[in-house]
């Protein structure tokens, strides 16, 4: 495998050029999170409490893991609409492996991840080789996954009550006081962070996102790497599916639609550009935390659900506008 030095050099130049701005966006997003935290702590005496923080982290885990995968796809300038129902399909298949076929726990969990990777692989092939726009390819996958979840499960939830230990995957506490689901999210974020910044997969994702043609000209097999990137994203979808199934101790074939938009929102709030070429995992984690914190805080204050959505929408506009403002100044 050759690493064309031009691409690497270009990517690195791009990285330094974007470096400051990215850091700024991260600092801003983090500051936003702190402000939201401070506000709710002030507004409600019940907000700043370990039990509640734990609740927020747990609420972040599933969408957060999905958002990690989505970050890679968005880095290439693509979009992945299939993460929500894809996650559901992974839950259902995990249910089939564990509850219906009675396979060992490890096999079932790896099977769930493999289904996620398969969904990503197909997305990648459709985008790269059939040249479907990512929006269309993943929109189609979103529908296929939703349909298959319902067909395979016979439209009934699959329960893991007889699969010993499966619920402990999310609910257990390897670190006392911290549910495993949260631990898995953090571990996945660490892996995603390293993958994005230190491996070819991540570097090429950013490089394709900032200039696909130039990347291809410099000798990178863009098509093949896109397939790899979508597959990596699919793995995170699979992980989200397994965590979701474990937390509910059941695979619910009807859930999932709409989760993809929350994941995309988290990615965007975190400062990853939908135009591609610029992505940050830390930002995505903060973005997901902001979404969950906002919803939790507004609920604690008994704000009706209708208004919660309005608030989240406004935060997305503010976050992206802040990003655009800064970009304007630099240019």
């Amino acid at each position: 495998m050759t690493t064309p030095s031009t691409t690497t050099a270009r990517t690195e130049r791009a990285a330094t050029r974007f470096g400051n701005r990215q850091q700024l966006q991260q600092i801003l997003a983090f500051a936003g999170l702190v402000v939201i935290f401070a506000f709710f702590s002030f507004a409600s005496p019940y907000f700043l409490d370990w039990a509640n923080v734990k609740g927020i982290l747990l609420a972040t885990a599933v969408t957060g893991i999905m958002a990690l995968g989505a970050t890679f796809v968005i880095a290439t300038g693509g979009i992945d609409l299939s993460v929500g129902t894809g996650m559901t399909l992974c839950s259902v298949m995990t249910g089939v492996f564990l509850a219906n076929l009675g396979l060992p726990l490890v096999v079932g969990v790896l099977g769930g991840l493999a289904i996620g990777a398969l969904i990503g692989l197909l997305n990648g092939l459709n985008v790269s080789y059939l040249r479907l726009p990512p929006f269309i390819a993943t929109l189609a996958m979103m529908m296929v996954a939703q349909g298959l979840s319902l067909v395979i499960s016979g439209t009934k939830p699959i329960y893991f009550s007889d699969v010993g230990g499966f619920d402990q995957l999310a609910a257990g506490e390897l670190v006392p006081g911290l549910p495993n689901a949260v631990l898995i999210f953090f571990a996945a974020a660490a892996i995603a962070g390293v993958t994005l910044s230190k491996t070819l997969t991540g570097r090429y994702a950013l490089s394709i996102g900032s200039n696909e043609e130039a990347t291809a000209i410099s000798g990178v097999d863009v098509r093949r790497w896109k397939v790899v990137i979508y597959t990596v994203a699919g793995l995170f979808t699979g992980l989200a599916g397994v965590v979701m199934a474990s937390r509910l101790n059941s695979a619910q074939p009807g859930l999932g639609l709409g989760y993809e938009l929350e994941a995309i929102a988290a990615v965007v709030i975190g400062g990853t550009s939908l135009r591609g070429g610029k992505a940050t995992i830390l930002g995505t984690v903060i973005g997901a935390l902001i979404m969950a914190t906002l919803t939790n805080g507004l609920r604690i204050m008994s704000i009706p659900q209708e208004w919660q959505k309005v608030a989240v929408g406004i935060v997305i506009v503010l976050a992206v506008y802040a990003d655009i403002l800064r970009r304007g100044k630099e240019a």
């Binding site: 009934k156 937390r247 609920r299």
Partner: protein, 329 residues
Amino acid sequence: MNSNSTTRRRITAVAAATTSVVVALALAACGSGGAEPGAGDKPYVALVSKGFQHQFWQAVKQGADDAAAELDVEVTFEGPETETEVEKQLTMLQTALDKNPDALGYAALDSEASIPMMTDAESRGIPVIAFDSGVESDVPVTTVSTDNLAASAEAAKHMAELVGSGKIAIVGHDQTSQTGQQRVEGFTQYIEENAPGIEIVDTQFAGGDHLKSADAAKAIMQAHPDLEGIYGTNEGSAIGVVKAVQESGKAGELTVIGFDSGKAQTDAIRDGLMAGAITQDPIKMGYETVKAAVAAINGEELEPVVDSGFYWYDETNIDDEEIAAVLYE
């Protein structure tokens, strides 16, 4: 350029795409059994429900199928994926009408949006049976539904008995549908009128999504540490509440009351995590709908409302024959 190979590639791609579509359609046709509805001599009743993937709707379908077999009619059953897709349901309703059924059963997601089509059905002489929730129109010859106000008042009665006095909260599933509103209204009204010692401190809606309902219930418990009980207004909400109580380590400290069934909910009741729940009788609902449709086809007079009934069930009666028959997994 080598336009030849491009063309060939394009042809291959098109051929591949066409083949996969044909295969998919063939599979779908096999899966559905293939029979064209309404083609036979039997009267044809088209049912358009609010959903099909939810266990509840599957039970309604079962009741409808039972009645179809018994009364020797043809029944089709369809509904949108989620109970928010009003527009998609209207399309299904239109398609059902276009098949010119002998009678139409309809569970309206939106009680007003379908009025033009109701008029259309009337002008074509197709009798309409509303089921689950009513339609703002006098076209339907009858409405087969659970009395949600009475059912949720029953839930409130048990909550009041179990809690005695203190703070309680509600996790609702839908603030825009009649069913969703009545599930909260009947409960709230009963508490206000009959349980002066109980205060409903919060009502949050979470769309019936298990995970979101759990997060909502947790937030409420966080804001009201002295909460005595939570009522979840449908399957997803109720399971979410149980999840929240479990995850907060407050199992046994709060009285949880649910609605509908499903294995997670019946397990929670058996394990003592949930005090009890109200179940509708979806099988009876489906059965009565088809029965009413057949009566309408035969020109018989019908009562304006057919109550399909509800039951309170808890640890003590969950295995009774009449209860077990209407609980679904």
